[in-house]
Assembly symmetry: C2
Homo-oligomer: 361 residues x 2
């Protein structure tokens, strides 16, 4: 059995060809068609907003929880059970492929990913390469986690999750989270050859991480370029898009839709789509009708309820969700989501109510 998703033909070895999720509202909307039910899921739906998440995570460091297949599957499934969302997103972290390949990285609570040693020179990049490729053996905990998740999900699709090469490179160069990403942006201009070697490496490891999730049963792959908003269009296009293109092309070659998302990237929307995305995630700053206009009305969209309004009175939030859905009609397909991740302090009953509202529209 074979078919096409989003104009991409499916290779016969992919679980999608079983038809498990082909007709799901999510995959239908990602393919640029109108499903019977408007699909909705939330970035960071699996996480701190859920008491059942805080319970199973108690005492377990973040990266350990990502690499425990049973725990990662359980956490991934929790919001699907609770909210009735139309997709699961694999519970992981964008630095997981770094950890799997042997980079000294930890996630400090309240801070974020912190590297043992920043990567700033050609020698530093050579040392990354010396760690060897992200083999299927190293990826085994991810593959096992996805397989368990997919088996439990049935007809509900799983979205594979990975950080974009620039965002990973920014963490590696800065050594941790940064507001301006000065060191990363300096390196791309001061030593373009080293930068380009670093981007080739991050594209490889994050690509392998996403590929493993898709081969194990994810029905789509979403590339998160969290820090791309720090870049000018010229820097993005010249120094970052080529590596992202490589990962997006890999996702498409596996026969599933490639979703691309960045924060504060309204100015980069077209370049990010043109890097090879089937679907563009839009953050809360740009209304979906304006995003669709920029994209020539040709690209399915995902987004973009403002997470700030999850804590507003229901009538304010409801009016906003209806407005997002209305504006989303200008795109050839629309998956409702947030314009950024679920804030940890969100009341989960509000998320459930948003799902019910979206499904009623």
């Amino acid at each position: 059995m074979s078919g096409t998703i989003g104009g991409v033909s499916l290779s016969t070895h992919h679980p999608l060809v079983d038809g498990r999720t082909t007709e799901s509202p999510l995959v239908t909307a990602y393919s640029g068609r109108r499903p019977e039910r408007l699909p909705v899921w939330f970035m960071r739906q699996a996480g701190r907003s859920l008491p059942e998440y805080r319970e199973v995570r108690a005492g377990v460091p973040m990266l350990d929880s990502c690499l425990d297949p049973d725990l990662a599957a359980e956490i991934t499934l929790q919001p699907v059970r609770r909210h009735g969302v139309d997709a699961a997103v694999f519970f992981s972290d964008i630095v997981v492929p770094l950890r799997l390949v042997g980079v000294d990285v930890e996630i400090r609570p309240g801070v974020g990913p912190v590297m043992g040693t920043p990567v700033r020179t050609a020698d530093d990049v050579a040392r990354l390469r010396d760690l060897g490729p992200l083999t299927p053996e190293r990826l085994a905990p991810v593959t096992a986690g996805v397989e368990r998740t997919v088996a439990a999900l049935g007809a509900t699709p799983l979205v594979g999750f990975a950080g974009a090469p620039f965002t990973l490179a920014a963490y590696l160069v800065e050594g941790g989270p940064s507001r301006d990403h000065l060191a990363a942006r300096r390196l791309m201009h001061a030593d373009p050859a080293t930068w380009s070697a670093l981007m080739a490496w991050t594209a490889e490891v994050t690509g392998a991480f996403l590929e493993a999730q898709i081969r194990a049963g994810a029905s789509a792959g979403q590339l998160f370029d969290s820090w791309a908003g720090a870049l000018s269009l010229a820097d993005y296009a010249a120094h970052c898009a080529p590596a992202s293109s490589q990962v997006l092309a890999l996702v498409r070659s596996l026969g599933v839709p490639a979703v691309h998302f960045g924060v504060a990237t309204g100015e980069l929307l077209v370049a990010m789509r043109d890097a090879g995305a089937d679907v563009m995630g839009v953050d809360y700053r740009v209304p979906l009708d304006e995003a669709s206009r920029r994209l020539g009305g040709a690209t399915p969209l995902q987004g973009n309820v403002d997470p700030a309004l999850l804590g507003a009175p229901w009538d304010v939030l409801e009016a906003h969700v209806r407005d997002v859905v209305e504006r989303g009609r200008s795109a050839p397909g629309h998956v409702v989501n947030l314009g950024h991740g679920v804030p940890p302090e969100t009341d989960p009953t509000v998320l459930t109510r948003v799902v019910e509202l979206v499904h009623s529209l």
Copy 2:
């Protein structure tokens, strides 16, 4: 004696009518004309990149140094002496007016401004109002600092410095620095009346702060909306621009050019200009020719050398500065500056070299 600056007629009581800085390259460019020498200064030029700054600041908390007139004047003058820049910018902090009016705020090194109690309700805003207005008596240390600075500057203009109402409100609501400004953005939707009362108050205190600097001799007033990039255009226009307009109108009514700057605000450029700015500061993300195009070619620009390149090899930085200057020619007036503040680790000799380069172009 009287005259006009940027089409605004000068009130006769203003120091500018002495003609001290009217013909300076800075004021000429701010007025939309081409001075003989291309003017240049740097946001955060007075600060940690200078050893002489670190020396005089040693052991003095940030806000105390802002409120010591001799120290603030000395720090303001240091980069003018060292780099030969075409303007001083008054050394201060955007939360200084909060401190002067009695808000419990401190600046924690490595963190930023932290409030004793966040402001989130109508009662909280009423308590701010109960602190009373920012009177000339309370502003005395600022006035004295500016007077001493201006006396030493001679024909070199001083740019007055203040935070925009939204950025101040965001600090007050969040209680400190924040990545997404969720609480502030929630408040504007959840309780627009309280939000609007808060914005009216921040506009008043930051306006009084800027007015004091201009009355004491500043030749321009720059409003810094550091966090406006967190906003959609619709939220900015509806919930923030009116308060900024009030401050910009005050600056103009005092007969000096109003400069408006935000970070990651390419999408808001036109709205920020239309709020009543004579000059738009542009961050490093949007090239100046594109910024000028968005603004209809009618607005003098300030910017936008990428601070990340201050640490790149000189030939890379030089090519970038030349490109910025070339693109700036599309605007009716151009003041060279950075697209964000000087990073603390910047080698100050590089800044001096940039000034020499700009003056040679």
